[in-house]
């Protein structure tokens, strides 16, 4: 741990550009980065599961607030965070709310006041309530996953799973190798698209030609990807990968008291919210 910490810090300058960068530098107030990824996953889990079945608007709204509070305090306030919390999520929730109110079966809600009427079509307030409850619910679930999502890097999650969940390290390293594949294959896909365009192989417009075109990229992309993976596998085997059931670990992702504290506090807050708003619109 001691010898690995300074090395990882050097990685930071590039972190902005690389979604899989090793670790993020942040002030101590931004406590999320100092937590074990597993704790950040476990803490909101009960709330997320209950939210799937909740039907009212107040419960998801409360969890949405809780998630926003944790994120705004605990995560670095970057443009990405601002964009997600202040733009993407609210807009998404609004759009889903409207979308769902349009599709709600009117016969179930025709006892509620009319909100909007065009010709023979009526939008009842009850439909709107159902739609917006759904929008809020989905937004709350997404916001809760963001607690881990915005403050954890893939490699750290993999390391934590290997070190604390007994995930076999060979699976863990497969995942790490996969993270390295992403930019490469993304670039390869670009090249394949260019190459196909040069061949004049994309005549016409419309959704069906677009689908056919994308389908044409899949085989060369996968073939190249698998070839590359096989070469990497041979290189790893040549370096004794899998020689023993375990291996020396230099980067430790410790599970500390603060992780337990975070989980317990979050669970307590979740319980309080759920107790407050029972029966969550189900009764």
């Amino acid at each position: 741990m001691t010898e690995s910490a300074p090395l990882l810090a050097v990685q930071a300058p590039d972190a902005r550009f690389d979604p899989y960068a090793q670790r993020i530098e942040a002030s101590p107030v931004r406590f999320l980065y100092a937590l074990n990824p597993l704790a950040k996953l476990a803490a909101p889990l009960p709330a997320m599961i209950v939210l799937i079945f909740v039907r009212d608007a107040a419960t998801p709204a409360a969890f949405l607030l809780l998630a926003y509070a944790v994120l705004l305090v605990g995560a670095r306030f970057t443009r990405v965070l601002a964009g997600v919390l202040l733009l993407a999520l609210p807009l998404g929730a609004l759009a889903i709310g409207f979308g769902f109110s349009l599709w709600t079966d009117a016969s179930q809600v025709d006892d509620t006041p009319v909100f909007w009427q065009i010709g023979g079509w009526t939008l009842y307030q009850g439909a709107l309530a159902i739609g917006f409850a759904t929008g809020l619910r989905l937004a709350a679930i997404v916001a809760l996953t963001l607690i881990a999502g915005l403050s954890t890097t893939g490699p750290d999650l993999v390391r934590a799973s290997v070190q604390h969940l007994r995930v076999p390290y060979r699976i863990g390293y497969t995942a790490l190798a996969a993270f390295r594949f992403v930019p490469r294959f993304g670039h390869e896909l670009d090249v394949i698209r260019q190459a196909h365009r040069v061949r004049g192989s994309h005549g016409g417009r419309g959704p069906f030609t677009a689908v056919a075109r994308w389908f044409g990229y899949v085989v060369p992309l996968m073939a190249g990807a698998i070839r590359h993976a096989e070469r990497v596998a041979l290189a790893m085997d040549s370096r004794a990968f899998g020689a023993y059931p375990d291996r020396t670990e230099r980067h430790l992702v410790p599970y500390r008291v603060r992780d337990t504290v975070f989980i317990v506090l979050f669970w307590a807050a979740s319980a309080a919210v759920l107790w407050l708003f029972f029966p969550w619109g189900l009764g």
């Binding site: 759009a95 889903i96 881990a148 699976i171 497969t174 993270f179 996968m222 596998a233 899998g242």
Partner: protein, 193 residues
Amino acid sequence: MSRSNRAQVSTAYLLTCAAIGVAGGIVLAAGWWISSMLFITVPLISVAIAGLWLMPAVIALRLIQRPFAGLLVGLISGLVLAPFFTVGAIGTTLWWALFAELGFLLVLYRFWHTWQHYASALIVSIVYPIMAAASFDLWTIPLGMQIAYFGVTLVSCFAGTWLGIVVADRLRKAGVAKLARRRTPVAAAEPAA
């Protein structure tokens, strides 16, 4: 003859699954955006591309024909999507991969036939709408639409499975994934065409 230590899976198997997972993840990312857009506007149509989620796992199972290839691919594509679509992506892709794998898991990987892929697709196209309905509150929409919803899911899952099989067969024809593939006696005798 080849005495590898213990009965562990090969690195080539693991990384081939990783590659399929990543390539699948890249394609899924596009699909995910489309489906999110659809979901917001016309929620019912979004299930039309449900079958896309099955594809990576179907490709892996068909190509490699080894146990857990589908699940591993699901895990990897979820990990790839996670930075862009939150950690929940891992759950989603694993969930779909599990169903793609089901047709083989249920027979304990004793045999590998094409119909098993379609059996898996059938199971998932029944289970998914029910679960999705619970979470999206779809019991409130008119009955006709509910039926359409099931129908579209069914067609989509079968189409996704069929496409996965086509891709895997083409890859196999192109001589891809020889290291990870289940080694059959036929493979050794196959002429160089």
